[in-house]
Symmetry: C2
Subunit: 115 residues, 2 copies
């Protein structure tokens, strides 16, 4: 298993696209960097990353879709609901060969194009 994310090997090109998409924004890479030090709950993560919570949710959603992060809800000792995010394990090797292999399953549909 060479390329994987969340203990699943990647095979469909859509999986790769969603990973690349997830990694294509500075805020999301920053989130990964912070979670690499350990899990965090949403409000604290928002402060660390320096974005609003609604915006953070949007970015987390993309990371979760790509399965680069996962979340769990917990109730702290003081009774507050807290949602923790943590990094999934992942490793990708990107080169001519891996992308070439991927592209074989891609078919671009009939755009009625000319020119």
């Amino acid at each position: 298993m060479k390329n994987f994310v969340g203990n699943l090997s990647l095979n469909k090109y859509e999986d790769y696209v969603s990973v690349f998409d997830a990694l294509s924004h500075p805020v999301r890479i920053k989130i990964i960097g912070i979670l690499a030090e350990g899990r965090q709950y949403v409000s604290e993560l928002a402060r660390l990353v320096n974005v609003s919570r609604p915006l953070l949710y949007m970015h987390l959603k993309k990371l979760e879709t790509a399965r680069l992060v996962k979340s769990t809800m917990e109730i702290s000792e003081n009774g507050k609901a807290m949602k923790f995010y943590s990094l999934e394990d992942f490793g990708l090797e990107i080169n001519k060969d891996t992308l070439s292999e991927l592209s074989k399953s891609i078919v671009i549909e009939n755009p009625e194009n000319g020119s």
Copy 2:
């Protein structure tokens, strides 16, 4: 030199973001797959990928910005100007450590946020 593209090692996070961005669309991965078999000129590439030429230019621009492809103009024997695109050499290893390292240089600016 672990992560590189076009014989240059990647270091700024913006370089990575533009590579991820370039790889986040099926058409662009398809383009890479086709160029992996050998160079192609623009019009033929458009037919192979099955998109219009103006659209192809847009996608090629992103790939070129990320330095995953390069182009050269030539005059064919029959006198026609032809623009050839070919793949740059590149190899990236993406995991918790490489992204974590990257994220250190990312600072998210003052969004005046609350909540």
